[in-house]
Symmetry: C2
Subunit: 154 residues, 2 copies
């Protein structure tokens, strides 16, 4: 099954992440799945590469899980982010949150992806049709030359 | 792969539903997964049975897909609902919606589950620890004796 909050260089199976959070007391699971999109504002992506400061990234993903259970005590969350070379339509990240009722599942899942953008040290290198650029997966890391937030990219 | 909008008596694989909507132009998929919860207001469910007017249910699920693409032209949606006997933690329904950016994926997915409750002719028979009751999965069908909406149940 792997860890509840992990960074992996392997293909992510959505079903497996969902089953990390399904429990008798939950009736709803919301998942957010980020996939590699081909076009971003008319620029074509050929493939991309995710890199992470893995131990810190996993710690930050687990922190998001803690934040979620402090805000939604009945929620259970799992997040798996893939790194390495990814191609168009590949799954880069899966967030799953289970709750007794559905409204909380939506809210907590949305909270998780927004926080992921803010605090998790994962970057992607876009291999565009006409060159490459690094894009920070978090907003606070501005040290990369073209480090704009991934906000619009998932 | 099966149909985009279907009612099935088989186990639902989340990955398979997600892959019905993943496309090069999408960067985000939101899924809603309804599972069988053990307790509802202190009443314990042992198992339950879903029944559907299948051809009409599939037509209504497809209608929800049409409504979604008229509201979110870049969205693609798939919905699979299971019928028959389901046990605690089994997956009853999977809704998947892909969009270029994530905000729309969340909104369209939420729209789909709310509409499903309203218009799709699927009912569940709860087998409680102390008896049984029919609960309509849609609000307009009041002809079942205890036909309250499933609103709170997923």
């Amino acid at each position: 099954m792997g860890k509840q909050f992990s960074v992996t260089d392997q293909f992510i199976n959505v079903d497996e992440v969902v089953h990390k959070v399904v429990r008798p007391e939950s009736g709803a699971v919301n998942t957010f799945i980020g996939t590699v999109r081909e076009f971003t504002k008319n620029k074509r992506t050929l493939y991309l590469k995710y890199e992470a400061y893995v131990s810190m990234a996993e710690k930050k993903l687990a922190q998001i899980g803690d934040e979620i259970t402090s805000k939604w005590p009945d929620a259970k969350c799992a997040i798996v982010h893939r790194i390495g070379e990814l191609h168009i339509s590949d799954i880069a990240v899966v967030i799953a949150v289970s709750t007794p009722h559905r409204a909380d599942a939506y809210d907590a899942s949305r909270y998780a992806i927004e926080r992921m953008k803010e605090i998790v040290p994962i970057w992607k290198k876009e291999h565009w049709e006409d060159g490459t650029s690094w894009i920070g997966d978090q907003q606070e890391l501005k040290r990369y030359p073209t480090g704009e937030p991934l906000e619009e990219d998932l």
